[in-house]
């Protein structure tokens, strides 16, 4: 087991290395850099002359080594990554590790909340639907699941924002806390305020998550319910409920665990889409913002982190599979 884990982690390193090389090259191939943004700000806000602005941009490039060959910039950033501070953000004007510390926890918090809620509710609904196949409740759950899977997150978020902001008149949009609670210490009042702000985002994600898990669970469980050992359990007098929960469900969970690695990527992208629409300060907004103004190291770091999260998701999924299924565990 440990050997396998070590192998997976070691195999992830070259993948991450090549991935950072590719993303770094792509990010840097966009026309313009942060110095152009500096020059533009000087012209617009500082009323500098064009020459002065361009000179300041040139100075900025020299100071921050933006004129160096790409490969040198890459290894300079890599050195910072290995020391753990990921370089300095030009826009936020502080180490990227601080930006990450500020933005990553809320992002991951949202993703994990959505994932846990979606899995628990979705799996339960899937069990109910499969256990009562062809009943009205199965039809209803399946139809809602189909709608949930076809409703795109970002369009749902867009329509939800319109309804909440202009029809219902909800004020708590576009941030994590109201201004009153922003600098208060954590308390139940603040928690409630947080929930008031994030529930639409969680709703958008959870609806999709529920649908995916529900459909998967329903399909798997229907397959297992046809197996002969289920019939045997019924024949020896076990109640239907107990047969489903004790014999069928544990065997139907297997593909669900295998699919957790795909979920991670899906959840993260969903979080980016919804946060951009809702304007919540998380990783997603930071990526779009840093990309727009050429704050390249921030973009590269965030992509590295997202890639890392995806790879970790894959490993966790395999471990979960081994834990759930003795055939996988002992087969190694």
């Amino acid at each position: 087991m440990l050997r396998y884990l070590a192998y997976r982690i070691l195999a992830a390193i070259p993948v991450l290395f090549v991935m950072t090389l590719i993303t770094f090259a792509i990010i840097h191939s966009t026309p313009g850099d942060y110095a152009d943004y500096v020059a533009q700000q000087l012209r617009v806000q500082g009323h500098a002359t064009n020459e002065a602005a361009l000179a300041a941009a040139q100075q900025f490039r020299i100071d921050h080594g933006l004129n160096d060959p790409l490969i040198i910039q890459y290894f300079r950033w890599m050195k910072d990554v290995l020391t753990g501070n990921f370089g300095t953000s030009y826009f936020f004007n502080r180490p990227i590790s601080e930006v990450l510390a500020q933005r990553l926890p809320p992002s991951l918090g949202l993703v994990i909340t959505v994932h846990v809620l979606g899995t628990i509710i979705g799996v339960s609904l899937g069990i109910i639907a499969a256990a009562r196949q062809y009943s009205w409740i199965d039809t209803l759950i399946s139809f809602v699941g189909f709608l949930g899977i076809t409703t795109p997150k970002f369009l749902f978020a867009l329509v939800l924002i319109y309804i909440l902001a202009f029809k219902v008149g909800v004020q708590e949009l576009g941030s994590f806390y109201s201004s009153y609670w922003s600098y208060q210490p954590m308390s139940f009042g603040k928690l409630w305020n947080l929930i008031l702000h994030v529930w639409p985002i969680i709703l958008v994600g959870v609806l999709n998550g529920i649908s995916y898990n529900m459909r998967m669970m329903r399909g798997n469980l229907l397959d297992t319910l046809n197996a002969q050992y289920v019939e045997t359990a019924r024949a020896k007098g076990l109640s239907y409920g107990a047969t489903v929960l004790k014999h069928a469900v544990p065997n139907a969970l297997h593909p669900l665990a295998a699919y957790q690695s795909a979920v991670m990527r899906y959840m993260i992208e969903g979080e980016i889409e919804t946060s951009v629409i809702f304007g919540i300060p998380t990783i997603g907004v930071a990526i779009v913002l840093s990309m727009g103004i050429g704050d390249v190291l921030v973009t590269a770091t965030l992509m590295l982190i997202l890639g890392l999260v995806q790879i970790v998701g894959g490993i966790v999924s395999d471990l979960l599979l081994a834990w759930l299924d003795p055939r996988v565990r002992l087969g190694e």
Partner: protein, 383 residues
């Protein structure tokens, strides 16, 4: 006679088909497989709804100008709400619905001093089928000016209102289907070709080649997709012509998505390569090419078709999100994503909610293809 023996079912006197030899269906050639799939598919309600909608969507995309009541590029009154339609006019009730154009009023809003727009109730315009309208070229060749419906005075009729330049949203949505669906179809063709080739070769040849290809696939899997779309779309020079811009977006979408399909195909191929008839073919000395094309590919095709139907809506969605952020399509061309661009501004959205209506086109497409895919998935294994 011999054809009847081979067929998996025979027709009885009362016109129903009886499945006499299910196993023989496997040897009865490609045609009867399709018949079998169709027989099963026909019974799936969702699948049939999906198939109907997809056919309609493709027809609308092909003959968009015919279905569009107003010129999608002609600017009129900006942000005009949808023209009201009613069956009751000054002359009483009539079966032919009347519509009233939205016109700029003389009055000003007391708060914003913007002119107040409202329907012109003095001039009802009857809605008719097959009316002459703006001139277009059917399928890009045949000059025509006939439209499915509209008002016969030849003036624009705004079913879903107008956008910020006063262009008809409904007509733009219909024309936009061309780019949005076309982009998805072309990107999916690339994904299918590359994904299938890589998956088949990697799964069949195995060994060191497979190991290397899978590492490359791993890297593509680890790439965060959404941010990469954004940065790759930003790489395209601003001055590039819109067609080039579109072509690059297609290539980018295809480049980031082939890995998924290739992995699925590889998994199937790995399993198939161990099956007896493939081994038998190897034993009698069939070339690798023949085994892949004649024995493995036909078994993978059904899976590929199902994944195509699920990929198309995903690419339509990617396009709409990129368009929403202003990255996918450039102005002379029209796409659904581009039409949503103004919805990011809350105050615009609050004042003119009808600019959200392209969402309906996207939802319909996503629903239609997913329903079709669902029906097909259940039907592809009819044995």
């Amino acid at each position: 006679m011999s054809a009847d023996l081979l067929a998996p079912y025979v027709k009885t006197e009362d016109g129903t088909y009886v499945d006499v030899a299910p196993l023989s269906a496997r040897f009865a050639g490609g045609d009867s497989y399709i018949v079998l799939v169709w027989r099963k598919f026909r019974h799936s309600v969702m699948g049939m709804i999906g198939l109907t909608l997809v056919t309609l969507l493709l027809l609308v995309a092909l003959f968009a100008d015919f279905f569009a009541p107003s010129d999608p590029r002609e600017p009129t009154l900006a942000f005009a709400p949808p023209d009201p339609i009613s069956f009751i006019s000054k002359n009483g009730f009539s079966l032919r619905p009347q519509t009233y154009a939205i016109v700029e009023g003389d009055q000003l809003d007391p708060v914003t001093f913007q002119p107040l727009n409202g329907p012109d109730y003095e001039h009802p315009r009857p809605i008719k089928f097959l009316v002459p309208g703006y001139a277009y070229r059917l399928l890009g060749i045949i000059p025509a000016s006939l439209h499915l419906f509209g008002t016969d005075d030849g003036k624009p009729f705004h079913v879903l209102g107008t956008d910020k330049f006063g262009r008809d949203i409904f007509s733009r949505g219909l024309i936009g289907a061309r780019i949005s669906l076309g982009l998805a179809l072309i990107a999916v063709s690339f994904i299918t070709i590359v994904g299938t080739l890589v998956g088949l070769s990697s799964g069949y040849l195995g060994g060191r080649y497979d190991a290397w290809v899978q590492r490359v696939v791993d890297i593509f899997f680890a790439l965060p997709q959404l941010p990469l779309y954004l940065s790759l779309a930003a790489v395209i020079p601003v001055t590039a012509p819109s067609e080039v811009f579109l072509a690059i977006v297609v290539v980018v979408i295809a480049a980031l998505n082939w890995a998924q399909l290739s992995r699925e195909v590889r998994g199937k191929t790995l399993a198939l390569a161990r099956i007896e008839y493939v081994r038998a073919a190897q034993a009698v000395g069939a070339t690798d090419m023949r085994i892949i094309l004649r024995h493995i590919l036909p078994n993978v095709v059904s899976h590929i078709i199902v994944s195509i139907t699920t990929w198309i809506p995903q690419i339509v969605l990617i396009e709409s999100f990129l368009g929403f952020l202003g990255f996918a399509v450039k102005p002379p061309l029209i796409s659904w994503g581009m039409m949503l661009q103004d919805c990011g501004n809350f105050s615009v959205l609050g004042s003119y909610p009808w600019i959200l209506s392209p969402v309906g086109f996207v939802l319909l497409t996503v629903f239609a293809f997913n329903a079709l895919g669902d029906g097909l998935r259940d039907a592809i294994d009819p044995y």
